[in-house]
């Protein structure tokens, strides 16, 4: 009886044990199946994230285009202090690294001592191939080599505002860097590429012995972009502008060189500038591309635009004569530049001598509506759509907000603000015979395998904003006279006939114009018969106290001349 009971108990015990085993089996095979399958998969596979190479930014100069921005990998030696553990190991490792890297052992010890609990202490960045091989051969415990993409800007500050720079992503979980300025920002989606993942089958030493092609995704490098910028012309513009800014102790300056037939920007300089590799070292103002972000009152450089609009709509004729009130238009409280006194003047004479009163009367002949529409037609008060971030639209108030004075002020560039790109485009329209152009910076996009995916062709100009004969008269008759006999004599070229307009605009401070701060500008083109380029130059706040002058004709026109002469010679010699 007792034996039988023992047998029953043993049976029950066995059933219970097998039951437990069965439950455990079920638990492992069913409930924990995913976890163990994942662990098994991980032990058999290794995963590497493949960061794509960011696309290059090239200029359109030379035979193949110069590199303005490119990514390359740099190798960084780091130490894991936790893995090193005891201080003796730290000393030993530091001594070994000293011989390879040429950095003092004590210096390395100091770096490690400062962050003893960290898992990553950077020792040296950008090591050479020989140093990398020496570190690998030394097989040092707790020492690793990290490889990361780094962005290089071989042209330095020369193209800083156009190319821009990259920096930390807004997403804290994303270690990537994204374009924060210039073309780097505007073309971020094209340049960045897509990340890949490699899944390797590994042996027990975790050496790769095969590639899991089903789970692997290849990285796709970013597309490269070719800009319309030519570094050589950019250098002409930058050096000429910088020289003048220094000579006149000015606050800042902008220069743009544009092809008037296509709207392609050949050079765009905004000073002061910065080195994109070290953008964080400069104060915010230098990072601004003033050519697109800073609106300013244009002053007299605005006059040819209003004259062209008035001629086109028939409000005035090219042979008309306007009485310029002998120097003071009392009813509207308008005087002439530098106290000049003019009587009857032709339209050409008004532009040549830059008469404010003559322009005010042209504005009155046009009336509010026609003046507003004419100015708007040239693109003022709206962004040009240039492919750079942060473009300002300028200010052209609707006519309902105009005072009775506005119609006399806007024609000579007051009560309106414009950007450098807007003015350059407006003059490009005059230069090409009245056809619209869109300022642009990208000439072509090349994908990661070298195919051209987008090409900005030299488009044939369609339609006219103003009549070609009007545009031609303004450029060839009126604006050449400004250079030959008027306020822009300093812009005259030896070999070519230049045309253009000077501008000297007061800068309003605390809502009032003062007699100290001015913006000196010159915008024009050459040659006059078939203009090849339009050049805009603007210098803000030249130091009047130097006694060397502060007008557009004195300060900006010589910069125009230097840029234009060098650019035309360069284009001629290079057969472009």
């Amino acid at each position: 009886m007792k034996t039988q009971r023992v047998i029953v108990v043993l049976h029950l015990l066995m059933v219970a044990v097998f039951g437990l085993l069965g439950w455990r089996l079920f638990y492992l095979q069913h409930c924990q199946a995913d976890r163990y399958a994942d662990e098994a998969y991980r032990s058999l596979h290794a995963f590497t994230r493949q960061e794509p190479q960011r696309g290059r930014i090239l200029d359109s100069g030379g035979v193949r285009g110069r590199v303005l921005a490119a990514s390359n990998k740099t190798q960084t030696v780091f130490v894991d202090p936790v893995m090193l553990g005891h201080w003796d190991n730290v000393m030993e490792t530091s001594a070994a690294l000293q011989d390879i890297l040429g950095i003092g052992a004590m210096e390395i010890c100091d770096l490690i001592a400062q962050r003893r609990t960290s898992r990553f202490v950077k020792i040296s960045e950008g090591i050479s191939e020989a140093q990398r091989e020496a570190i690998v051969a030394a097989n040092l415990q707790g020492v690793g080599i990290d490889t990361q993409w780094r962005r290089y800007y071989p042209m330095g500050a020369l193209t800083s505002h156009v190319v821009g720079f990259i920096g930390g992503s807004a997403d804290p979980n994303d270690a990537d860097k994204i374009g924060l300025s210039g073309a780097e920002q505007a073309y971020e989606s094209l340049l960045k590429g897509t990340r890949g993942n490699h899944v390797f089958i590994v042996d027990k030493r975790r050496y790769p012995i095969g590639l899991d092609t089903k789970r692997s995704i290849a990285a796709r490098d970013g597309s490269s972009i070719v800009l319309t910028i030519d570094s050589t012309i950019q250098e002409f513009a930058r050096s000429a502008l910088m020289k003048q800014i220094q000579a006149y102790q000015a606050e800042s300056g902008v220069a743009i060189v544009m092809n008037p037939w296509t709207g392609a920007i050949l050079a765009m300089v905004s000073l002061p500038d910065y080195d994109p590799s070290e953008f964080w070292k400069v104060e915010g103002g230098r990072l601004r591309n003033r050519a697109v972000t800073d609106p300013f009152e244009p002053g007299s450089i605005f006059k040819p635009i209003v004259v062209a609009a008035a001629l086109d709509r028939g409000h005035i004729g090219t042979t008309d004569s306007i009485y310029c009130e002998d120097g003071y238009y009392a009813k509207y409280r308008i005087g002439e530049w530098a106290g000049h006194r003019f009587g009857n003047m032709t339209i050409k004479g008004i532009l040549r001598e830059s008469s404010n009163i003559g322009m005010a009367k042209i504005g009155q002949k046009m009336g509010q509506k026609a003046l507003y529409e004419g100015v708007r037609l040239f693109g003022f008060g709206q962004p040009t759509g240039v492919d750079l971030p942060g473009e300002d639209a300028g200010t052209l108030r609707p006519t309902r907000e105009w005072s009775s004075y506005s119609v006399t002020r806007i024609p000579y560039g007051h009560e309106i603000s414009v950007t450098a790109v807007q003015v350059t485009r407006a003059f490009a329209i005059l230069a090409n015979g009245g056809s619209p152009v869109k300022p642009h910076l990208v000439r072509a996009v090349i994908d990661d395998v070298g195919n051209v995916t987008h090409f900005n062709r030299q488009v044939s100009l369609a339609g006219h904003l103003i009549k070609p004969e009007i545009a031609s008269w303004v450029v060839r008759e009126a604006l050449t006279e400004v250079v030959n006999e008027g306020t822009g004599k300093e812009a005259a070229l030896q070999k070519w006939q230049a045309w253009g307009k000077t501008g000297t605009a007061n800068i309003a401070t605390n809502g009032r114009y003062d007699t100290v701060n001015y913006t000196a500008s010159f915008v024009g083109g050459a040659p006059a018969d078939v203009p090849r380029v339009v050049v805009f130059v603007s210098i803000r706040k030249p130091n009047k106290a130097l006694g060397k002058g502060y007008s557009g004709g004195r300060v900006a026109a010589p910069v125009f001349r230097e840029i234009m002469e060098k650019t035309l010679t360069y284009l001629e010699k290079s057969g472009q």
Partner: protein
């Protein structure tokens, strides 16, 4: 006859097994060498890129302008 057949089968299976293992090891070794070659190729490409960037820095029009200006300055 049956013993010979057995020996043959055992021998054949052993050869197939050894062959399979050998081919697997060879495949792994070739793959590993291939990966090393790819990494080496990447390294060379990066070195070339580094040199090209250095060259671009030297051909920077600003740098050339500076050289030209320095050369143009009369000797003291």
């Amino acid at each position: 006859m049956s013993r010979c057949r057995l020996i043959f089968i055992v021998f054949f299976l052993t050869v197939v097994l050894i062959g399979a293992v050998h081919m697997r090891v060879s495949s792994s070794r070739v793959f590993f060498r291939c990966r090393r070659a790819i990494v080496e190729q990447d390294n060379l490409r990066l070195q070339l890129g580094r040199k090209q960037l250095k060259l671009e820095e030297l051909l920077n029009p600003s740098v050339i302008s500076e050289h030209v200006e320095n050369d143009a300055e009369p000797a003291p």
